[in-house]
Symmetry: C3
Subunit: 505 residues, 3 copies
Amino acid sequence: MAQMIKPLAFFLLLSVLLLSVSAFINHHDPRQDPKKEYSECQRKCQRESEPGRRQQQELEDCQRQCKDKYEERQGKGGDSYPITGGESQQDNNPYVFEDKHFETISTQHGRLGMLPKFSDHSPHLRGFINAFRFAFLEANPQTFVLPHHIDAELILVVVQGRGRISLLRPDGRQSVNLRKGDVLRVPAGTTVYLINRDNNEKLVIAKLVQPISTPGEFQPFFGVGAKNPESFLKAFSGEILEAAYQQKSDKILRLLDQQKAEFVVKASEEQIRALSQKDEEGGKSIWPFGGESSRNKINLFKQRPVESNEFGELREVNPSDFRPLEDLDVSVSFANITKGGMSTIFFNSKSIKISVVRNGEGLLQMACPHLAQESQQGQGGSQERQRGRGGSQEGQGDLQEQVKYEKVEARLRQGVVFITPPGHPSTLVASNNQNLEVICFEINTRDNDKTPLAGKNNIFSQMEKVAQELAFNRPSREVEEIVRANNNEWFFKGPNQQQQGRALE
Amino acid sequence: MAQMIKPLAFFLLLSVLLLSVSAFINHHDPRQDPKKEYSECQRKCQRESEPGRRQQQELEDCQRQCKDKYEERQGKGGDSYPITGGESQQDNNPYVFEDKHFETISTQHGRLGMLPKFSDHSPHLRGFINAFRFAFLEANPQTFVLPHHIDAELILVVVQGRGRISLLRPDGRQSVNLRKGDVLRVPAGTTVYLINRDNNEKLVIAKLVQPISTPGEFQPFFGVGAKNPESFLKAFSGEILEAAYQQKSDKILRLLDQQKAEFVVKASEEQIRALSQKDEEGGKSIWPFGGESSRNKINLFKQRPVESNEFGELREVNPSDFRPLEDLDVSVSFANITKGGMSTIFFNSKSIKISVVRNGEGLLQMACPHLAQESQQGQGGSQERQRGRGGSQEGQGDLQEQVKYEKVEARLRQGVVFITPPGHPSTLVASNNQNLEVICFEINTRDNDKTPLAGKNNIFSQMEKVAQELAFNRPSREVEEIVRANNNEWFFKGPNQQQQGRALE
Amino acid sequence: MAQMIKPLAFFLLLSVLLLSVSAFINHHDPRQDPKKEYSECQRKCQRESEPGRRQQQELEDCQRQCKDKYEERQGKGGDSYPITGGESQQDNNPYVFEDKHFETISTQHGRLGMLPKFSDHSPHLRGFINAFRFAFLEANPQTFVLPHHIDAELILVVVQGRGRISLLRPDGRQSVNLRKGDVLRVPAGTTVYLINRDNNEKLVIAKLVQPISTPGEFQPFFGVGAKNPESFLKAFSGEILEAAYQQKSDKILRLLDQQKAEFVVKASEEQIRALSQKDEEGGKSIWPFGGESSRNKINLFKQRPVESNEFGELREVNPSDFRPLEDLDVSVSFANITKGGMSTIFFNSKSIKISVVRNGEGLLQMACPHLAQESQQGQGGSQERQRGRGGSQEGQGDLQEQVKYEKVEARLRQGVVFITPPGHPSTLVASNNQNLEVICFEINTRDNDKTPLAGKNNIFSQMEKVAQELAFNRPSREVEEIVRANNNEWFFKGPNQQQQGRALE
């Protein structure tokens, strides 16, 4: 694989990104017929091109991109995208998940999409991250999600839309209005129901799930009957139900059979209105999170940025901001990278990060020592670490060849999920035409540091001069010239901003 | 499998329960010769039947039950017990353990019975519960259990009898009298010995074991020699022992060889008396559990009930009541369901529960989504989740068919152990002739809620009216009529009380 | 295997130990040609023997030991060392690691040696210890270890030499001088570089590693380029690097290619001097360990002994002494057993201990119930626990034959690493000519007790008299005579002191 990319190819990629708005939310099935897609793409190019010479060039670019995209879908795209190496590359990327990787429950009025256990996706993800799962819930406008509980702790982030969630616990009910950016903790075993109270927009919620019974595995429990799922009460004998409800069992079972819809049902405007009162924030909280508990949600998008400049900004909700996150030791953050901008190259000292693209397009690059080892082993034809020389069966292995770093790369678009393990340096680049908005769940957040490797205060600029000399085997002055040139912090002008401007002229 | 039971069959079952007093404690080997058992059963029917017509009916019932029981033992019982589906059903029940599932060390004067690792019993139990094991210790009247330690944390509950336990730690010895209901924590690596100081009754102790070295695995270490086990000191060289004890090694080894009995030895009345002083509760505590530590035991049966009515009561010892339980995050509880009563249908929001029947007979019903999935997969001939349509290898799986709940059912009698995972709705029903007494260890107890699904304050009655309408697709009034009819809390009149009365008339 | 050793054999072993100075640090490859080693050994005997009869005996002993050692290296040594059973025995010892078990990265100026995952070494080590790894770092005099970070928490103990470590975090740099005995915590993801500032002595550091991403697995990340490893920055595209550093990518890449050495590079005397200022202990600490955090290291060797007598002493650094150890719940200790001395036989109630011999020679003995079970199963030809009698497939197994203890034994010399699981009684014996110095990492240290089985306050001496009678089946007086004879605590005169004296006369 080419370690260096040709600038031209890079422009092409970014141009393509402008078009490939194959969004998670508005475009559920990415496997629409490629030919049909190609025709539509061509027509769109025609429609959008204006008369005149410069536009002719644009039209040709646009048409070529349609073709590239088509070929990529047909599995021939490898050559055209030296950076990402084509879709098949992304398929094998252990750290990236696209729409097709989700297991889904689709119904007429909504959809639940869930990533498989991370370790099922890749051996690179067999570590502590497997205590968690990631899921999306989508509910169409004016719908009601049936009451249910799961055997898992939940952190919800409202990606889009306006909803309302009600949580039922033995000591009461609490209902909370949901707006985009809201972060909410739902304790394991809490019965919830939701409405999408908007007339037009989908309600989309990202969920971090921490099962409490078996690592990475959980189950939904629906007490109210539906076509699917049935009520769990139907698993009990008629006699038991009669005694428990002091009603004839046929009457009980009839009630459990009335719901003919699936887990999301349509609600009337009137029903939505009746359920959409203002937040019950003044009332007694039913949450078990101590003194501050009346604050049962927090808005991520309204947090004051912890980092911000013209190239992007970062907002965070940490356990210290929102105590319900404390026992799970999870932070939620939101990076909004200005179009044409990039984040610094950095690593998290402790956190494992699960990120999902909320909007926009871009590129992820990450350095990974694990992959490098693997590909070497692949070449050596050996699955295990090379051990020993001569007859020795273990130990004394010469591990020197193995410390190398491979580039992990992924094209980002709405709905793509990617994992950044701790210690792994990475960067995000926004495309030129749209901000790249990313919501991140960071696991194991206590005492985590984001360590910058470029820009102001990067780790190289903090080395003693003599250490710089010894490390780089060059005069300190030369080192400093490079590591201190960029005086921005966290967000920079991206690699494509100037170049792409040129390319599109 | 019949999801609904025929009332008649249910009466029969409960009648049978009256007879099948195959108790764990007084009846160790459930595999006594079935034919002999059958004859005895018949004779008992004869003995107990009185002259007169009504009694004739009773005699016939009794005899039929003997036959049923015999056939069930022969593996033909399936038809007769549609609720439990016969013993073979119970055999495959992943959540239930009977006497035969225990691994045992039986000696002349006592017995240790231990459940295998839960994950060895069933893949449904491969989760966090595997950090724990469950065991019973039985010591005959007037016996002494040899000093030993194990590499595991221990919570003891005295099920029956009167004993005394001595704990040896580097900074001293502490001895505590044991009565039934006493809950005691023994820190890992603490050397203990026990006596049964009663002249007649067995001492029976239930143990929750949390190994500290390897999950689910632990070992006993006996320092004092016996026929079995030998002293671990015999694993050291004679020279080492000589230097350590400053005595000739043959003298040391001779001492280690004098004990010819096994791990429980007979004690004389005089020895028992000498060891049965009153509790050393006034003395300095040797426990590492902070200020309150002088309180080294607590009696479960003497706790004030947290729930109580004519149909049953529940007593609890929580970490907040008894600090030694705090670091293990375990509660111990005792449910005493009045004969003919039942518990509400409810689930624990977080706790995994290991229950053992102390006395009486009854029925467990639980709704389980996992099993439902499994049986569907079995039908589909596929071990894995169904994934993708057409050629896709992962993701986009339509999970809709799979959300279903199966009935898990078990006949309960003395010594039966059963697991209730978090989130799983379940209920217990006592037989008509005896209270059902159950001791429970609840793991992961912090912020756990018992969520009732029937009776007062059940979760359905807490839904907004419009939500009830939307959920059940019926007018709220109809829903409320059912979910609010039973105004009792936690314990109700059972399904059989009135019916069985009729059946036996 | 002989459970009892013949005294003569024991003397021989200890004599041999006097000679077999096959030190980890000064003697990296234990597989030097055995014949050459034999000749050198013989010559050494000649050189050291003085004229006269007594010396003749010594010479013969010495020569015989050379031969024994040679044969042992050839794999014929089994007979000669009934205690250790020859090297092949040690090879299969699940609890002991020698030089050859280490995976190493060797370079011109230094070496990193790392033990494999413990569970890869033996199924006996598949428990909680697998959260940790053990490693050594050696740097030659006047060298510089390149800056890097790892995805793991680190506890360092300086075994030998004088160094200086610099830690870089986003909020600053902190440099700390290192002397032998210093204990230091390096948080995961912290970039570090080190120097060996001594002109002659190697710097040797023992590391306890707790990976934070995947249990037992971690990776080094080198930001500065070298021949090996390359810089992880080379995994990023040229365009990305240009944008991140605002310099031409070829200039950046050239800088990353200047370092031609491997991960340890030679430094000039001047560079060492420039980097060897005094500790920056007065400055603002960058550590995340609370109020006391300015104290970023502690010296183990300078701690006041917690146990001490003429036969040995024990020093400890506990989390309460040094808060950076608190969240890992690890203690570090140093046992210095006087030549000819031994430690008591004892067990840790909770801690798992990883020990490394810093200096000297000796013997480990430990009682292990697991091994005993295994060898019985081996004899029975069955991998699983024996279960059931007759037709039963599970449970009711008679486990009585299986509770037995096997002797685990290992010859100790510099660099040998051994594991002591909780609850396992063990003892260490120093050779007659040198103190045995052992550095220990104890994991799971909260509320751990060291429980003595011999000497003052041993657990047997704390039993009630009647319990002693019942346990040992002998009059209490006889028991007391043995368990109270040795009035020393923790360290005793070893088995060989007097005997060996005789043997060598």
